[in-house]
Symmetry: C2
Subunit: 492 residues, 2 copies
Amino acid sequence: MQVFELFFILGHTLADAGGVAVALQDLQTSDRNDTGIQTAISVLKQRFGDRLKTSQALLEQHSHTMTYIPSQLPDAVVFAQSTQDVQQVVRVCAEYKVPIIPFGTGTSLEGGVNAPAGGISIDLNSMNEVIKVNAEDLDCVIQPGVTREALNDYLRDTGLFFPIDPGANASLGGMAATRASGTNAVRYGTMRENVISMNVVMPDGRLVKTAARTRKSSAGYDLTKLMVGSEGTLGIITELTLRLYGIPERISAGVCQFETVEGACNTTILAMQTGLPMARIELLDALQVKMINQYSGLEYEPKPTLFFEFHGSPDGVAEQIESFNAIAEELGGGNIQWVETMEARNRLWKARHDAYYAMLAWRQGSQGIATDACVPISRLAECIAETQKDVEELGLVAPVIGHVGDGNFHITPLVMMDDKDEVARAETFIERLNLRAIAMEGTCTGEHGIGQGKRRFLRLEHGVGADIMASIKHAIDPDNIMNPGKVVGYLE
Amino acid sequence: MQVFELFFILGHTLADAGGVAVALQDLQTSDRNDTGIQTAISVLKQRFGDRLKTSQALLEQHSHTMTYIPSQLPDAVVFAQSTQDVQQVVRVCAEYKVPIIPFGTGTSLEGGVNAPAGGISIDLNSMNEVIKVNAEDLDCVIQPGVTREALNDYLRDTGLFFPIDPGANASLGGMAATRASGTNAVRYGTMRENVISMNVVMPDGRLVKTAARTRKSSAGYDLTKLMVGSEGTLGIITELTLRLYGIPERISAGVCQFETVEGACNTTILAMQTGLPMARIELLDALQVKMINQYSGLEYEPKPTLFFEFHGSPDGVAEQIESFNAIAEELGGGNIQWVETMEARNRLWKARHDAYYAMLAWRQGSQGIATDACVPISRLAECIAETQKDVEELGLVAPVIGHVGDGNFHITPLVMMDDKDEVARAETFIERLNLRAIAMEGTCTGEHGIGQGKRRFLRLEHGVGADIMASIKHAIDPDNIMNPGKVVGYLE
């Protein structure tokens, strides 16, 4: 499919989207409210003393985005220790109309912690307490700075776990803000399905509890789901109630290799349709397999490959394995290599989670332009095939790895950023990828969020819906102080 | 727990909630925009001809609410056949600032289709087409007037089904608007989890597609989840994309009786904690069992009883049954009566769904004040026990039936509405129930919605959150024309 056909399908023009070209190195900055910022810093310095920092190193660390988007530094960092701290910072910033950028672990891939108009970064890492585990209710209450690994360490003796696992050991507040997911989402859902309630400091400093601690409710608008994925543009999360799950009695992982991406995708589709409760099912293309082999010392054939995992009772898992075997065999899968011991399993998933580093090691000196798209699973094989054609046509190096059970995949051009032509080709590539996903009834991001990097595509994907989002943003944050310049919070 | 203690816990006073007393027969009406309404009807009559009706019988039918809340009639009903029809009606109503009340099957329990300031009821029953079934993606696209039974009839030959089943054969648009659930929610979630995307006509007539047709997305604010449960106060749903599931290979239902509600609740808690994927688990108290026996010709002992169902593969279900047996036995459950044939199973669940009619038949001439509350499951036994004490103390007849796996239960005082003293005691009862649920970290409604009946409790439950909801309502519907007087859309 050609790009002009995509435009036709979308019924949009480049102009509608305010110019679609992805400006990797030319993100918009805005007039800074210098007076307000300096005043706010003075006031906050009096209240927070040494917990307010302005050193260059700390400012740089707090705008680090793990990806191609250039850093834009805040003017100060405040280290919050409590909800009251957050409320104080927000009230001061509200008074002087100064931007506030919430900061967790800085693993955003779309510039989520950048400060395009300066302002105050509020670091939530010290708010890292697990407040309560309600084992009978299968939930827990935590502060936003708790990371996913820290939570699971804490839960180890309870027989419970929290399944959502983006590659990075991100903070759970940040994961909620980004509506993150990862390899387990096919079985357990994303942060959307697993945040029960949150405490959020609103742009005027008031504290909102978004929902009761119940499995369901019909009481008014769903503020929890509105805040999940709002990327700090509507408020700052200071407490989360999360769903937990019993650690499965049996876990079995396996690897199956295919001649084609299509065979791997069709196996996934049929497994899902059959109702097999896949816990994880990850696709790697041949190039990604080579990279992982090299980086993690594995020895798979360089072919399209599925990594997968089953959770359940011993009999249940045995039954799932049998069904999956039959499906994979029918659709051209090679012999399944079962990964039985916990050690081997951890090695497999560590290799999967290290994929990004494997890429960078493969093409040394390059920058990985991490991007993601998500389509209905029936269109996935076609979407990947066309995208791989683009890679070839544009002369890029870009492996595919994906949460194929969700129709979500990552393709990461490895770009020498000082090669202007290559950068331009990567921009064209990302533009085509996003337009293609949207044209296939998909979304421009399955799990990375909009941040700064995908604002134009958000508008293309949502049309009038983006106006509705903007009106919500304006109603809740009329002075545009909460993480401005992200999602629909355009700088004006 | 006494009511004054509840107030203490909540930190609220009666005055905060604008007077908590539930005025069953005295709902607020408002100044009507008579000129606007008459003009809008004239304009719409020209466009819709015979599809606009003003006969008294039709107006009454379109404000029928199945419950105690008195009818408040609209001024006209327009029968829409397409999204364009809906847009036309909305644009005319927007121009003359006239209320619009979307109407599905009229099974709201909290006055959702009432027209407290008059206006135009827009009947969506003719928009009842199943537009597409995407079997590979496990989803379907439908119009809002399709009912849950009609959808499952349509799907019969595909091997797929849609699980959400409130008692009534409601329209799926209405179910989405109310964030409905029912007996299967413990396994499959509510409408919140099962609506992938919607087309919504906004208060200015623009059409919004809330999301891509993907299993997940991180692209901006979650408009789908904002619209699910908004009860027609933010827009009118004209198309829905819903998740589907494979019909389970094996379905087994059973009945287990207990000496105490606590035993039944603890069995449920342990089953959930063990990770048993219960498909349904319903609690009936002794009184409800008697009513169902009488109405549906069953012969259970008058004791607290669980109706439950397992879905899965033959081996999987066998394993679930074994685990459940062991748990129930340990916690005081009697012998489980398995319901094996489809006929017997249908009879069991029909009896469950007919519970409301069984109640009315039990106390002839009474009105059932259907209400629902939901608490964390760990508090459920305590919440029901205290509520049953209230029933006794207040001299009411009120059976309990509940989706106990979700911590959600219904208790329905059967009230002779001409007995003012009994009505007053029922009001006290409902007030206590809602305050108790909220004090136990629960919600004033698990699945019935706010409508008119629970607006005061919404404010008590959400505090500042209700202000945020109101600001969203105001941003999206500044003239308050969309189903005014419901949820946070107070009449002013």
